[in-house]
C-alpha cells in the first residue's frame, strides 16, 4: 500500500510537471474563458455600430402586374419578413432582376397571380426559407380573399384564419432536449480523455520498458502496485485537467451570467442535476480506469515505442465502436433501443451507454446498480489481469510476443 502511494505520487508529479500537460490545460482554460466572454465582447461591438445597421437591412421586392395584389402582398409580407425592408417594385421584370444582380435588392417575389409566383435571388443560401414563409403567407392571403369572395366579411375571414390551438407538454420522465447537451459533452469528454490518457499510459509503460528502467522497477515494486499506481495517477491527472477546464468554465460563466441571458443550451449545461453529476463521475472514473488498464497492459507488451500506435488499435476500435453506437442512438432520439440496452450492461460500452440512458430516458435503479456492479467487477478484474500482463510483458524484449503466448504465461504466473 505504501509502495502504491509512492508510485501514485511519483507518476502524478510526472504529469503535473509535464510542460505539454500544463500547456494544454492552460490553453483550454484560456479558450473557455474567451468563449464565456463572447456575449460581453459581442455586445461591446454592437452598441457602437447599432445605428449604422439600419441602412444595412436587406431589401425585398414585390412585383405584380396587378397593383392591388402587390399592395396586399406587401402588407402581409411586411409582417412576415420583419428582417427585410419590403418594397413594391415598379417597371418590368427585367428591371427587378437587374436590381437584384446589382445588389440594391436581395430578393424579389414576382407574382404571376394570387396563387403563383417566381422567387428571384442572387445567391441562394443553404438556409433560405423565404419561399416556405411566403407560401404560408400567400396561402393565407388566397384563402382570406376567397372567403371574402364567398360573402364573408374580411374580419370573419381573419378570425377563422388566425384561430390558434392551445397545447401544453408535461414531461413525466426525462426531457431529452434539455439533457441532450450535457450528455453530449460528457460523452465527448469521456471519449477524448480516455483516448488521450490511454495513449499516455501505454506510452508511459512502453517508455519505461524501452529505457530499461523496468528491470529496476519490477525488482523494487509489486506489479499490481505499479499498474494501479500508474493508472490511478493518470486518472487523477485527467480529473485535475477536467476540473480545471470545467471549473474555470463555471467561474467565467458566473462572471458573464447576465450577458448570456437565457441561453438555453448554456443554462442546461451549468444546471446539471446533482444526481446526474454523481453518475457522470462514477461512470467517468470507472470507464477511464478500465480502458487505462487495458492501454497499460498493451504498452507493456510493445517491444518498441513506435509499435504502440499499432498495438493499441484493437482497444481503440472497441472504444470508437462504443462511441459511435451511443452517438448514433442519441442522434436518432431512440435512446432505449435494443442495442443501447445491451450496451448499457456490457462493461466496455456501459460508461457511455448507461449514462446516456440515465440522462435521456427513464432507467430503473436496479438496472443502474447492475450496470455499475458489472463495470466495477470488470474494472478490478481488468486491472489485476493487466498487472499480470505487465509483469510478464515488460521483460519480453525483442520481438512482440504473440497473444497466445502472453495468455499462456499470464495464466501460469
Amino acid at each position: 500500500m505504501k509502495q502504491f502511494g509512492t508510485i501514485l505520487k511519483f507518476e502524478l508529479k510526472g504529469y503535473l510537471k509535464n510542460k505539454v500537460f500544463v500547456g494544454i490545460t492552460l490553453f483550454l482554460v484560456i479558450a473557455i474563458a474567451v468563449a464565456m466572454f463572447i456575449p460581453n465582447i459581442a455586445s461591446l461591438f454592437k452598441s457602437e455600430d447599432g445605428e449604422a445597421d439600419a441602412a444595412d437591412i436587406p431589401v425585398m421586392l414585390v412585383y405584380a402586374e396587378d397593383s392591388e395584389l402587390s399592395a396586399l402582398v406587401k402588407q402581409y409580407f411586411d409582417e412576415a419578413f420583419s428582417e427585410y425592408k419590403v418594397k413594391v417594385a415598379d417597371g418590368t421584370v427585367e428591371e427587378v432582376k437587374k436590381q437584384i444582380t446589382s445588389g440594391s435588392a436581395e430578393c424579389a417575389f414576382v407574382m404571376d397571380g394570387a396563387d403563383s409566383y417566381t422567387y428571384y435571388v442572387n445567391n441562394l443560401s443553404m438556409y433560405d426559407s423565404n419561399t416556405e414563409i411566403a407560401n404560408t403567407v400567400l396561402q393565407e392571403v388566397y384563402r382570406v380573399t376567397a372567403m371574402v369572395q364567398y360573402g364573408m366579411t374580411p374580419e370573419q375571414a381573419d378570425n377563422i384564419m388566425s384561430a390558434q390551438i392551445e397545447s401544453y407538454t408535461t414531461t413525466l420522465g426525462k426531457d431529452q432536449m434539455q439533457n441532450f447537451f450535457y450528455t453530449y459533452i460528457m460523452i465527448f469528454a469521456l471519449y477524448m480523455v480516455i483516448l488521450l490518457y490511454g495513449q499516455m499510459v501505454a506510452t508511459n509503460v512502453a517508455t519505461e520498458k524501452s529505457s530499461r528502467a523496468m528491470e529496476v522497477l519490477v525488482t523494487s515494486a509489486k506489479p499490481t502496485s505499479m499498474m494501479f499506481g500508474k493508472v490511478l495517477a493518470s486518472c487523477l491527472a485527467g480529473l485535475i485537467q477536467l476540473v480545471a477546464v470545467f471549473g474555470s468554465a463555471l467561474v467565467f460563466y458566473n462572471i458573464n451570467k447576465s450577458a448570456w441571458g437565457d441561453n438555453m443550451i448554456i443554462e442546461s449545461i451549468f444546471n446539471i442535476p446533482v444526481t446526474l453529476f454523481v453518475y457522470m463521475l462514477v461512470f467517468f472514473i470507472l470507464g477511464f480506469l478500465m480502458y487505462a488498464f487495458m492501454f497499460g497492459a498493451i504498452g507493456s507488451t510493445a517491444s518498441k515505442l513506435e509499435d504502440i500506435n499499432t498495438s493499441v488499435m484493437p482497444v481503440t476500435f472497441l472504444f470508437i465502436i462504443a462511441f459511435i453506437v451511443v452517438m448514433a442512438s442519441m442522434a436518432s432520439g431512440n435512446i432505449d433501443n435494443t442495442v443501447m440496452k445491451v450496451c448499457s450492461y456490457v462493461p466496455f460500452t456501459s460508461p457511455m451507454a448507461m449514462f446516456t440512458r440515465i440522462c435521456m430516458s427513464t432507467v430503473a435503479p436496479y438496472e443502474i446498480a447492475a450496470s455499475i456492479a458489472i463495470l466495477v467487477g470488470t474494472t478490478v478484474g481488468v486491472g489485476l489481469i493487466a498487472a499480470k500482463i505487465y509483469r510478464v510483458g515488460v521483460l519480453l524484449y525483442g520481438t512482440t510476443p504473440k497473444i497466445g503466448s502472453i495468455i499462456k504465461t499470464v495464466w501460469k504466473a
Binding site: Q3, V216, T219
Partner: protein, 296 residues
C-alpha cells in the same frame, strides 16, 4: 547469512537455459559469477531477484526459502537505464522509497551517495544530460541507497574509466567490510580476481567450477614451468613440442606429470642460461578459458 541457489532450472520455450545451477555465497564475502556471453549469468541473477520464477530448484537464505519482503536486495542490472527525462534526485529518492525507505531518509541516503561518488553537482540535472559512465554511477546508487543486505552487480565495471573503476572498487570493498553479500557477474577476470573470495563459472547453463578462489588456484595441477631466458632457442629444440612461447616472451614447458617438476627445474638450471624458472600459477583468466572455453 548464507545465500544458496539449489538446482535451478529454467527454460524459455524449448530452450533450456539453466540446467541445475547451484552455488552458495556468504555475508562479508564477494562472490563472482563468471561465464561467457549467453552462458546464463543474467538469467540466474534474474531468478535470484525474482524477476521471473525458475522452472525448478530453490533459492534459500540460511537454509530457508527466501522471503523477498524481508531480505533487502540491491541490484545493478546489466541492462542499464532509469528515467532519462527525470531529475536525478527525484528518481533516486523514488527508487529508495519503493524499497521502503522513508522519504526523509531516502533524500539523506541519496545525497550521501551522490557525494560519495562525486556526483553532487548533477543532483538537480536530468539523467539524459549525463555521460554513460556517470549514468552508470547514478544507477549504482539505486542499488545501494536503501542499504540492502545483498548487493548484486551485473557487469559493474563495464563502461567505467580507470578512476571511476577505482572508486567503485573502494565502494565494493566497503560493502563487503559491512558484512554484505556482494555478488558480481562479469567477464572481466581481473576485477573478479581482485575482490572475489569465491567464484562459480557457468557454462551452457551448468556450474562447471565452484568454490574458494584460493583453493581453486592451489588445487590447480602444477605441471607447467615458466622459464625466462635470453637464449630460448636451445631449450625450444631440446624440449620440442612440450615447450611453447607465451605472449610476453617467456617459455612455458608442459611436464608429463607434476612429479617431474623438481627434476625438470634442476635440468634447466644446470644446462641452460636461465634468468628465472618457476611453477606456472594460473590466473583466473586461464582457469576461465579452460573451464568455460569448451563448447558443450
Amino acid at each position: 547469512m548464507i545465500l544458496e541457489l539449489k538446482n535451478i532450472d529454467k527454460s524459455f520455450g524449448e530452450k533450456q537455459v539453466l540446467k541445475g545451477v547451484s552455488f552458495t555465497a556468504e555475508s562479508g564475502k564477494a562472490f563472482g559469477l563468471l561465464g561467457r556471453n549467453g552462458a546464463g549469468k543474467t538469467t540466474t541473477i534474474r531468478i535470484l531477484m525474482n524477476v521471473f520464477p525458475a522452472n525448478g530448484g530453490e533459492v534459500l537464505v540460511d537454509g530457508k526459502p527466501i522471503d523477498y519482503n524481508k531480505i533487502g536486495f540491491g541490484y545493478l542490472p546489466e541492462e542499464r537505464g532509469l528515467y532519462p527525462k527525470k531529475l536525478i534526485i527525484d528518481q533516486l529518492v523514488y527508487f529508495a522509497e519503493l524499497k521502503g525507505v522513508a522519504h526523509r531518509d531516502a533524500v539523506k541516503a541519496v545525497d550521501y551517495w551522490l557525494e560519495r561518488l562525486g556526483m553532487s553537482e548533477y543532483r538537480n540535472k536530468r539523467l539524459d544530460t549525463l555521460s554513460k559512465g556517470n549514468q552508470q554511477k547514478i544507477q549504482l546508487i539505486t542499488a545501494l541507497a536503501h542499504d540492502p543486505q545483498i548487493v548484486i552487480l551485473d557487469e559493474p565495471f563495464s563502461g567505467l574509466d580507470p578512476v571511476n573503476a577505482m572508486l567503485l572498487k573502494d565502494v565494493v570493498k566497503e560493502q563487503i567490510a559491512k558484512g554484505k553479500i556482494v555478488l558480481f557477474s562479469s567477464h572481466q577476470m581481473s576485477y573478479i580476481e581482485e575482490f572475489c573470495d569465491s567464484i562459480a563459472i557457468i557454462n551452457a547453463g551448468k556450474v562447471v567450477l565452484h568454490g574458494d578462489l584460493h583453493d581453486i588456484k592451489r588445487n590447480y595441477v602444477r605441471d607447467r614451468l615458466v622459464v625466462n631466458t635470453t637464449k630460448p632457442e636451445q631449450i625450444q629444440t631440446d624440449f620440442g613440442s612440450a615447450c611453447t612461447v607465451t605472449d610476453n616472451g617467456s617459455l612455458l614447458i608442459q611436464l608429463a606429470s607434476p612429479d617431474y617438476k623438481k627434476t625438470a627445474m634442476k635440468r634447466l638450471v644446470e644446462n641452460y642460461d636461465i634468468d628465472e624458472v618457476k611453477v606456472f600459477e594460473p590466473s583466473l583468466n586461464d582457469i576461465f578459458v579452460e573451464y568455460a572455453g569448451e563448447q558443450v
